[in-house]
Symmetry: C2
Amino acid sequence: MNIGDVSRLSGLPPKTIRYYEDIGLIKPLRSSNGYRAFRDKDLHKLNFLARARSLGFSIEDCRTLLELYEDQDRTSADVKKVAETHLERIDEKIRELKAMRETLNELVDACHGDHRPDCPILKGLSSPTQ
Amino acid sequence: MNIGDVSRLSGLPPKTIRYYEDIGLIKPLRSSNGYRAFRDKDLHKLNFLARARSLGFSIEDCRTLLELYEDQDRTSADVKKVAETHLERIDEKIRELKAMRETLNELVDACHGDHRPDCPILKGLSSPTQ
DNA sequence: GCTTGACCCTCCAGTTGCGGGAAGCCCCAT
DNA sequence: ATGGGGCTTCCCGCAACTGGAGGGTCAAGC
């Protein structure tokens, strides 16, 4: 399989796939013409990566998960730990965003949004958030 | 005021303040010794920026907001539009994160997390998300 | 046999919003 | 005069790619 094939099959752009090879996440073979030659194994890894990335795992998390994925002697506890840590980061991010949303929404609600220059949003940004 | 002073007063690191000057968000004067000389006006802007950034506005949004802040002929509708657009981006981000959280949480819950290698999390990542 | 177009390759630069660190002034206190 | 801050500029690096330049390869059609 060429890069275009695995790109279509995994949904990852060719650029991303080359990047994943650069940083050592996958190691496709090479054809005599210099083209990358992907095996099923490589495609499986790319699918794995695509799904892990879509769940928000960092590249380094993905590297760890891929290693665990390939290690027959892993323990599920190790995997769960990585996932739980990531879950907490997500929760933290959601909390942050909700706090932003809260404050921002108050400002937006207070703003009449007409042709006049008077604006509670700018006022809110220019004076301390109590 | 030197950069250290406005840094303490605004809570922004000196590096950030220099960066904001680099990209033209603030234009402090210069003392004869080459030090940046911040006026009250500059400090106000930095405080404004610190608050806008803490609400998640991008630098370009901040640039727009600062321009509106300084424009006596602005309309509050213009400001509100920027804020509402940002609010939608935040909501979108929250939705994405919640979806991730959902899926990830199911996987974590399904994983017993013991010494055995069998792991629903890895299984979930290696087979299509239905 | 030649051209065309779709692939593929590498390498370099840019993105966002800074942070780290080097190398070198400046200023004040001892 | 010497030490310790503080200030300056400059350049590199981060994450995770994306875009583009410049060039080789392959298969089909004429």
